[in-house]
Subunit: 143 residues, 2 copies
């Protein structure tokens, strides 16, 4: 996490999400899909692919930031008009290998329920509401 | 984690997985699907649904046991004849709410690749190979 750490965001994240900000470990983005309250955490570090690539101390940060993101997702759900019934936490990376953790708020009757959201269908962009939702996420995350 | 902890395994796990054993935090099971090396970690505790329901200390245990399970999944993949290219870690719980973490070894060309395995298709049971694969998982996990 020092000044010599090289972090480069994979180009796949830009078109599919909005910048929220940086927590101590993770770069945080709002997935550009207004059908779900959905944050993506990308640990900042060079060449991270699997959770085991993180130091034990950073694994602790990752799980704590995942819990923080879950709380923010609940708040985002309220803004989107959804009561989050269950969080879905996933680190897949089959398509975009850079280590990232999805934190998605789910509810019965959402488009993919009860299946996973990943690969289900094209997102519905936040459009001109993105900025206020990013701001809400920042506030919830203490950024 | 004390003697007063009530842990009851949800009935959904029995028919879909084989008992592997208990790590300090998690009950571990082998998913009964020979198409993927796939372990399921179920933290032992009463009424756990979300990761935030664990104490911070148990969250640390969960992430460390997830890393251990990932190594075991790599070894299981070799036994199944697959080289694991990517781990998929997921805590969903839309169908079975009891907190559990899937640790799945994935490879290009596997049945669900690059989509998620959850909800993709019916499993292919381990059959009479289950016992030796459970044993391998136990050895890898130090059980």
């Amino acid at each position: 996490m020092g000044v010599w750490t090289v972090f480069q965001l994979h180009e796949a994240f830009g078109p599919t999400s909005h910048l929220v900000g940086d927590l101590p470990l993770c770069h945080v983005r709002l997935q550009d899909d207004a059908r779900y309250p959905w944050l993506v955490l990308i640990p900042r570090g060079p060449e991270l692919v699997e959770i085991e690539d993180l130091s034990p101390a950073d694994r602790v940060r990752l799980v704590e930031e995942t819990v923080m993101a879950g709380r923010a997702v609940h708040a985002l759900g309220a803004v989107l008009g959804f009561e989050v019934a269950k969080l879905n936490i996933g680190a897949l990376g089959n398509v975009t290998p850079q280590l990232h953790v999805h934190v998605v708020g789910r509810r019965p009757g959402d488009p993919a329920w009860p299946g996973p959201v990943w690969g289900h269908s094209a997102g519905q962009p936040h459009g001109d509401r993105a900025a206020e939702r990013v701001l809400l996420a920042r506030i919830q995350l203490g950024l």
